[in-house]
């Protein structure tokens, strides 16, 4: 421990608080990163990680607290000061311009100039090659970024930060889009940078990675600092317990007895996508069953939803619907077969935002609104009004534009437009993401209601409490594969290897181990 203490602190955030309206995003959180150390910042969504990172980047000013970098104390940073002081961010969503070359991206807004004041592409390529050399990776600085693999783009981001002499590197979920081989290269680089004395802040939901790479872990929950200690002090189970907390987020009110019937409506065997190698998904879904799908970012859950809905080509495997082997080539066909998809991104995939509620709800059922080429407005209005009432969509009228409604009500329109098709199988991809707690409860209750009516539901979610509440059984995915299906009853009763954990935490353990197998 003496050795650890000897490492100098590169950046120290002390007693940082930040409120958004009535919500405390951070309460007196302290966090420091030492040079020559990889420091994992952990917490569930909404724990306050991104607020810490935004404060560090200088895009958000804290209400109170100080930030100390290299002996200098700041009340707040600006993006410019943060960069100047050596804070380098590697974004989850890449900040590269795909049409420019690697070298042009590395020096974007920071271009090297010739003596005549013109941009010196050759010098930038030479410098980029040196940086890549020092990183121990080989990427052609003249290559166009769009032609690179995701892993190479990630490395280019890091080179960009290093070119600005970053002393602190912040990586936010850097591996979610990487292959296993690319992750190995990234980790090799991070170890090398650590040895050179860089301070590295590493944010990830993948516990296996944390144990592989991090030296120290800081856990946040609900805006508070829970603990900060060397990773060696933790086991997977204790770390998960710290992150998720003891208090159960009580969603059990939405739990009802299983309504699953015997009839298997959908059977999927060894399904794999053309766009990603190594996929393998098998499961069966019964009438009236809610099948939850858990997994980390990039586990292939949304991809599975898209394959089942005819949006992504299938490389192999079979889909058997009501006992008949089927190929699903388009959303149109999927809809005709009685499937429906509430997609992940409601604003981009779910809604025509500028159009009215009625116009949005009409879209998938145009065929059903009479056989003539004309829209049966009477029927359409009646359908829309029914759904507005059933889903308690808060709106002044069915003519209101979708984008004039709140997120929760927008999500209800998307759910409504698919209920209008009266599907047998409803696939919901993160249906409660980014909506208020009231609407969320309504969505969960609706799922159970639909199951009781005999509809089958595939419910994809990253929130385990919610999955536990609403599902009959839960499939865990990792690396494009469905690695395990667990019965909810088993999670609730069996002691297993971690008896002290709540069911939700046991599920987290399976999700994290799934990552290990992948």
């Amino acid at each position: 421990m003496i050795e650890l203490a000897a490492k100098p602190i590169a950046v120290e955030m002390a007693a940082i608080s930040k409120r958004f309206g009535g919500v405390h995003a951070l309460r007196e959180v302290s966090f420091s990163a030492r040079s020559g150390e990889i420091h994992a910042l952990l917490g569930e969504n909404g724990a306050g990680k991104s607020t810490i990172l935004k404060t560090l980047r200088g895009v958000q000013a804290p209400d109170s607290g100080t930030i100390t970098i290299g002996g200098e104390v700041f009340d707040r940073l600006t993006p410019h000061v943060a960069r100047q002081k050596g804070i380098g961010m590697i974004f989850q969503e890449m900040s590269l311009v795909p049409t420019l070359s690697v070298a042009q991206n590395v020096f974007l807004a920071n271009e090297l100039l010739t003596s005549a004041g013109l941009i010196d592409d050759r010098a930038m390529e030479r410098r980029s090659a040196e940086i890549f050399g020092s990183m121990g990776v080989s990427i052609n600085p003249a290559a166009i970024v769009a032609d690179l693999s995701t892993g190479q783009q990630q490395l280019t981001e890091i080179a960009k930060a290093l070119s600005q002499n970053a002393a602190v590197l912040v990586l936010d979920e850097p591996t979610s889009a990487l292959t296993a081989g690319e992750v190995d290269i990234l980790f090799g680089l991070l170890r090398r940078l650590r040895a050179e004395g860089k301070a590295i802040v590493y944010v990830s939901h993948r516990m296996d990675e944390i144990f592989r790479i991090a030296d120290h872990a800081t856990v946040l929950r609900d805006g508070r600092l829970i603990d900060s200690r060397p990773i060696a002090d933790y086991t997977l189970a204790t770390l998960i317990a710290d992150i998720m907390g003891k208090a159960t987020r009580d969603l059990s009110e939405f739990t009802t007895a299983s309504t699953a019937q015997d009839e298997v409506i959908l059977r999927v065997e060894h399904l794999s996508s053309k766009l990603r190698h190594g996929g393998d998904v098998s499961f069966s879904l019964r009438r009236g069953e809610v099948l939850g799908i858990a997994g980390l970012l990039g586990a292939g859950r949304s991809r599975l939803a898209r394959m089942l809905f005819g949006l992504e080509p299938i490389a192999g495997g079979t889909i058997t619907l009501r006992g008949r082997t089927t190929t699903i080539g388009s959303p149109k066909q999927a809809t005709e077969l009685g499937l429906a998809l509430v997609p992940e991104d409601r604003r981009r995939q779910g809604l025509v935002l500028a159009h009215s509620i009625q116009d949005n709800i009409e879209l998938p059922i145009l065929k059903r609104l009479g056989s003539s080429p004309f829209v049966d407005l009477f029927k359409s209005r009646a359908t829309t009004d029914d759904l507005i009432k059933r889903l308690a969509i808060k709106t002044v009228s069915r003519e209101a534009a979708a984008n004039s409604l709140s997120g929760g009500n927008q999500q209800k329109i998307v759910i409504g437009k698919w209920l209008a098709t009266d599907p047998d199988i409803l696939i919901m991809d993160e249906p409660t993401a980014g909506i208020d707690i009231g609407s969320k409860g309504e969505v969960l209750r609706l799922v159970r209601e639909l199951a009781a009516e005999g509809k089958s539901i595939i419910f994809i979610s990253s929130e385990l409490a919610e999955l536990m509440a609403v599902s009959d059984s839960i499939a865990v995915m990792s690396g494009g594969r469905l690695v395990e299906t667990v019965d909810k009853a088993d999670l609730l009763s069996s002691p297993g290897d971690a008896a002290e954990l709540r069911a939700e935490q046991k599920l987290q353990l399976i999700v994290q181990r799934g990552g290990n197998h992948g």
Binding site: F309, L311, S330, P331, K332, A334, T335, L341, P343, R348, Q349, G350, L351, V352, L353, A354, H355, D359, E362, L363, P364, L366, K367, L369, P373, F374, V375, L377, V396, S397, E399, A400, A401, N403, S404, K417
Partner: protein
Amino acid sequence: MADTTATAGGRESFLGYFKRTWRQNIIYIGFIVVFLFFAATLYDKGFLAPNNLLNIARQTAMIAVMAVAMTLVLSSGEIDLSVGAVAGLASVTTAMAITWGGLPAGIAIGLLTGVAVGLINGLLSTRLMIPTFLTTLAMMGIAKGTAMWISDTAAIPVLDPLYPAIFGGGNLGPIPTLLIWILVVGVIGHVVLRRTKFGRQVLAVGGNVVAARYSGINTSRVKLWVIVISAVTASLAGMLYAGRLQTGRFQLGEGDELSVIAAVVLGGTSLFGGKGTVIGSIIGALMIGVINNGLILMGLEYSQQLIARGGIIILAVALSQAGTRPA
């Protein structure tokens, strides 16, 4: 889009309604203002004479007809720059086909010209993913070149006496045939866009192509149809030119694409797709016609007319489109 919050509960005053919707209806207000302005200032120059007004309708008919289809095109998020050249080409093919095979052949060949051009534009855009801006820009040159080539750049006389009566020159009682064509095409276009399933799909594809695809709409097919409809309507406009002037000629319709797009945008259709009004487009076309006519009667020189017309269009579009651009 704050305009959806005002109608909770009770009745709103006319002023409130006006404040909320005047931007959407700017074209109708603008049309009336311009019309009254010319009516007052050009009263003694015969602006209001029935013959002058019917002439405006005749001169604007082709633009108005093409504007109806262009409304669908822009609503679907695409554009068609080839309409003017296609009209010219269709006027030539129609005139030649009449010479060769009589009236039925003329009508058939004229419309088939549009089908062929539309399929080429549409398939290039939906299969090879070339933006319609480029396919139709290229088609503009190809159509004009073809028209010049097959006609040897000469005017081809229309030899059938019945043809001009149907397509352009004649009157039905007191009403010019061209005005009837505007009404027929306009009503069909309006019903298609507002009341049919196809119209809904067009607006959805233009409003959010991803959401449309996720909703089970065959987005490529919708776009292909829209582009074919545009080319066929442009051919019809070319046939009207041929009827009105009793000749087919490659210059007919030259430059019309700009007037057509201006009329449609003026009418309140979004350049970015998802929102369109056929009636607005027709009024937009008539307004351009009224402005042209008024400026001529005012005695402005051609150069001054161009400047004044440009200024009026910019003003009207700025008023109607302000605040509607995607963020």
